[in-house]
Symmetry: D2
Subunit: 166 residues, 4 copies
Amino acid sequence: MSDRVWEMSIEQRESLIKAAFEAKQQTYSPYSKFPVGAALMAADGRIFKGANIENASYGGTICAERTAIVKAVSEGTRSFVALAVVTDVPSTISPCGMCRQVIREFCAQDMPILLIPGDYPKPPGHDSEGKPGIIAGGIKETSIGELLPDSFGPEHLDLPRTGGGK
Amino acid sequence: MSDRVWEMSIEQRESLIKAAFEAKQQTYSPYSKFPVGAALMAADGRIFKGANIENASYGGTICAERTAIVKAVSEGTRSFVALAVVTDVPSTISPCGMCRQVIREFCAQDMPILLIPGDYPKPPGHDSEGKPGIIAGGIKETSIGELLPDSFGPEHLDLPRTGGGK
Amino acid sequence: MSDRVWEMSIEQRESLIKAAFEAKQQTYSPYSKFPVGAALMAADGRIFKGANIENASYGGTICAERTAIVKAVSEGTRSFVALAVVTDVPSTISPCGMCRQVIREFCAQDMPILLIPGDYPKPPGHDSEGKPGIIAGGIKETSIGELLPDSFGPEHLDLPRTGGGK
Amino acid sequence: MSDRVWEMSIEQRESLIKAAFEAKQQTYSPYSKFPVGAALMAADGRIFKGANIENASYGGTICAERTAIVKAVSEGTRSFVALAVVTDVPSTISPCGMCRQVIREFCAQDMPILLIPGDYPKPPGHDSEGKPGIIAGGIKETSIGELLPDSFGPEHLDLPRTGGGK
Ligand SMILES: [Zn+2]
Ligand SMILES: [Zn+2]
Ligand SMILES: [Zn+2]
Ligand SMILES: [Zn+2]
């Protein structure tokens, strides 16, 4: 068991969620019309906000989660304690595989990832209540360990190689 | 429960594994020096081979799995029954998040994904024997449902949006 | 001046253009609804066809030109003599920057890149006639040297570094 | 001729160059070992700093220029007046095609892009002096119009389509 304490205070959690909603307002998503906001909390309490930034050549699109991460890393921060993601959809939406891979490079396996419903907070008695991982207000709490199991990461590039195989 | 029968014949499985090793020989990986081969079997039995094709601007790299998929799709095939992936590493190596996202677009949640150790077939009594998902020869059998749980996909782009949130 | 002879026969040129139109039919572009086809001729005369293959996470999209290139390279071919690109738009459409970067890795600076109007062949007297680079039928002939001037490529990664700067 | 005045003051130019060098210090480039820094000046004088952030799955890499852009856009800024890019190489290094495509989405064709040599300022009489585009200190001044001629952009997605072609 880890000694690491992921517990954020209620205030910190609310700040992070609020930041994700604010981040979403800066979306540049004229092609998908699917705004996404992400907020990444660093170990020192700073919050980095990201939105999805699309491109006419769709492959040039950078998602909200990756925007938040490159922003933080380029500011010299590589130690993170939580990520929150929100869209305009009332259900919780999970990061894409590309973002999961970039999260994997910088975040601990069990760092909390909070998927926020677009109509947060959901009232008591809402549809998803009691489902696995659903916490207060309809948030789904997960982690990169759960979202990208058996992941590929930096350590694999250093593994000894065999010329072998048939 | 699905009626779909994923069972390949032993001959088909061996052909697919052989194709993944062959595919790896065409790698263009001067930067990572980490060759990867992938082989994708279509519903009609055709096998599409992919290798990782890197770029001096690293972000331009396209992995073996994605190469195999775009190859097949661009040939008019969108119905797949199995994917095999192999590297030069003696342990099994999992697809990156980007490839998982692209696999997600085209393959069924439970389509077999075979991760082949670089020294396949491992002899009886090898290290990973008996571990979860490990089958004969040291292969790890998995699926995109397992590798990209709670995934983001085409259906999410069509969800009703709320202007809401706080 | 180069000794290399880029001249294709008229038959080869027509085959390549025809292949680009065929390639476009295999597009998977439910998000942009902007089908693109590409055809890449190898030194041995083989033609590799690519279409744009999009993803629900837009950044996972791989364009037609890149599909054609990874297809060819993964088949063991790295020597190319011409690329043709076509869309459904009546004017010629240029490759995006990402594709230019991938073309740069594998193709000569002066290899012909033929941008085909979607209504090819345009009749004599059409609008773009006489414009720079426009040849018979409304095709625009260009090259990666023209499309990606002062490019970044493999040789730059090997340049000596300075710890310097202020 | 445009009314836009791209002229930065000498102080602004020096601030931007200094910011690019500072940005480079935050590089996460364990794979290429090729640090890059970028600094983007907004119309309101704010400077956004980006570094290249690589990934174990090389295709997940985001360059310095793109980091700077998504950072600025996600902060609500989409109007830019200059970009500076620097590496550890004593010669000037150009943005990759992917970055050019993302720059294209947000920056004017003639916005100054300053490529800074890693050993800036070069002394009078240096090698590249007098070469096209080279200005004081060995800087190469260019623009996205020059770096990505005949580019693909947002306006092309709206062009009328023909079902046509042969
Ligand atoms: Zn994403
Ligand atoms: Zn991959
Ligand atoms: Zn492209
Ligand atoms: Zn770049």
